[in-house]
């Protein structure tokens, strides 16, 4: 009774601040991370002494792998099991993000360094006609990409936009539900199947082996329509119902309400969605390889003859290397850089449109 559990007077240390007691100090994780990378560097330094080249990537990877168990261990000793688990998961989750950044950074560096070798004037003002070996350019492919993607946009923007208007303003019942479901399913069509479809369509009507630019456009339109529908639908649903009701109350017909009130309100979002849809299909390779084929010469006519495009140009330059192979690879990387720049520019335009032309609801 009298012997209550009193803390041992000898071992009890006065606690300076009870709020931070039993916790790792704030800079501790960084110190542990630095030490872990130091150990990794030491391991690879020993290997470097043995004659290998010093491997920076390996050192950092080993360091990161060492950090995860050591932060758990230190936290376990100081803070207990539950906090140790928390620290471990934090390290793993952050590691997942860093892991995903590695391919992005590596890809950017590679494309820029290899791509700049042939990123010159000749690349943009000549085609591959009669070119073997060095020289030549991708003008025919750039023109082809613009024509094919433009035609795909001309096909899919009206259909996509009107479908989304149907779904938001008119659609009731079974047809609307069916269309929503099928648009979702259409989003998942593999691009190569769209290419096969366009090829089969044109070869049934125009004879087997027909490859034209317009077939490529049809294939891209199949991929682009669902994206346009989804994004426009989302934007149209954001338009407040009060605006529509105010128009109806003034006696404005439904179609004029849509054209004069609903569409102008949502036009910024719709433009953004369409630009992103174009950016998505402009990099498609497989459907164009199958439906539009490839050629070395200029072709301005969508309805006659094969037509090159930038992604297919990248692929053919890589796949059919001639002599010297470096010339072909350099052209492939330069075309890849051009393609990425176009896609990034489209993405940037879309974001800027969304930011600056969005309707201002606030007062």
């Amino acid at each position: 009774m009298t012997t209550t559990t009193k803390p041992d007077a000898v071992t009890a240390v006065p606690i300076e601040n009870s709020l931070t007691a039993g916790r790792l100090p704030a800079p501790a994780p960084w110190i542990i991370l630095g030490a872990a990378i130091g150990v990794g560097a030491a391991i690879f330094g020993v290997l470097a002494l043995a004659g290998n080249e010093f491997n920076w990537g390996g050192a950092i990877i080993v360091g990161a792998l060492l950090y995860i168990p050591s932060i758990w261990l230190f936290s376990m000793l100081v803070e207990g099991r539950r906090r140790a688990m928390d620290r471990l998961v934090t390290a793993l989750v952050t590691g997942a993000f860093v892991l995903a950044m590695i391919p992005l950074i590596s890809l950017t560096i590679t494309v820029v360094t290899y791509g700049l070798a042939r990123f010159d004037a000749e690349f943009f003002n000549s085609s591959m006609r009669n070119v073997t070996g060095e020289g030549g350019g991708a003008l025919h492919a750039i023109v082809g990409t613009l024509l094919i993607t433009g035609a795909a946009a001309v096909i899919s923007i009206p259909i996509g936009l009107m479908t989304s208007i149907y779904l938001v303003e008119y659609g009731r019942g079974r047809l609307a539900r069916g269309i929503t479901f099928l648009v979702d399913v259409m989003t998942g069509i593999p691009s190569i199947v769209a290419g096969l479809f366009a090829y089969a369509l044109f070869s049934i009507f125009l004879g087997p082996g027909t490859r034209t630019g317009i077939a490529g456009s049809v294939a891209l339109a199949v991929l682009m329509i669902p994206v346009v529908v989804r994004s426009s639908e989302e934007m149209l649903r954001l338009v407040p119902n009060e605006l529509r009701e105010a128009a109806y109350a003034l006696g404005v017909p439904k179609w004029l309400t849509i054209v004069k009130v609903v569409l102008p309100t949502s036009i910024a979002g719709i433009t953004t969605g369409i630009t992103l849809a174009v950016a998505r299909v402009i990099g498609e390779t497989a459907p164009l390889l199958i439906a539009a084929g490839f050629t070395a010469s200029m072709n301005y006519n969508l309805f006659d003859g094969r037509m090159s495009s930038l992604p297919v140009f990248v692929y053919t330059q890589y796949a059919n290397q001639g002599n010297p192979p470096e010339a072909y690879l350099d052209r492939a990387w330069a075309a890849a850089l051009t393609l990425i720049l176009i896609v990034m520019a489209l993405n940037l335009i879309a974001r800027l449109v969304a930011r600056f032309f969005a309707p201002k609801f606030g007062r």
């Binding site: 479908t163 303003e169 439904k254 498609e284 992604p311 993405n347």
Partner: protein, 311 residues
Amino acid sequence: MSTTAAIKAKQRPGDRVFSGSAVFAGSMILVTLAAVAIFLIVQSIPAFFADSEDASILPANFWAYVGPLVFGTVWAATLALIMAIPVSIGIALFISHYAPRRLASVLGYIVDLLAAVPSVVFGLWGIGVLAPAVQPLYSWLVDNLGWFPLFGGPVSGTGRTILTAGIVLAVMVLPIMTAICREVFLQTPVLHEEAALALGATRWEMIRTAVLPFGRSGIISASVLGLGRALGETMAVAMVLSASGAVTFQLLTSVNPSTIAANIALSFPEAYGMNVNVLIATGLILFVVTFAVNAFARWIVSRRKEFSGAN
């Protein structure tokens, strides 16, 4: 006399034209999908009954040709998902619950940048950078862990194996999976999270008890959508994988199964006669498989909408 009948709005010609064209555009979706199915079926019917005399690329009959391809497609997509699911959940959690609030949207945008890279560029990168970088790791695995059935030798000298193709596929499906998971995690009711934290849970315990159960169906549908993408991805696999058409589970050798999509892309430009029909028929099989996978994913999403009362 009586005014019980509903008053019908006056139908102006403009209204008729406009609603008519809206219905027409909507039906175009139905027509397009039906056309995709019909044209593929029409072109592939002859291939189902062809043998090696009709089409030079067939070893015996059509099913013997398509079997290994289906295996390769599923195997490559499975490998990609095994790598992509944990990483994408991690990234989504990082962006939704760990990163500083101000940085979160920027970080999300950076991950979305991965989706903007065309697949042919991923293919070039896979051959030029990734395959040489992982090849030493592969030979180390074969030397030291060769007893493990998946890592059996001999090691591929170029690194262009099915595992490399799986890594590239995983990188390519990461953005879509991360976007869906992130969206669902952000929808977790704040009250659930705060209740967990108020009971003394650490951040991980809060996520385990509040966020993950809420987002389970989102994770599942993200995985299935990612699976659909990985099944249909063409150019990156066609370029990275050095395929021989064998059926094998070994990850690191130079004997690899091909995938349906990659095989079409590689064989189609030179195909003629009945071979074209055979390739279109493999495309039809791919279409059916991805259709089923996507419909399944959408079904999960729609079921969640109805039954989760929390949001």
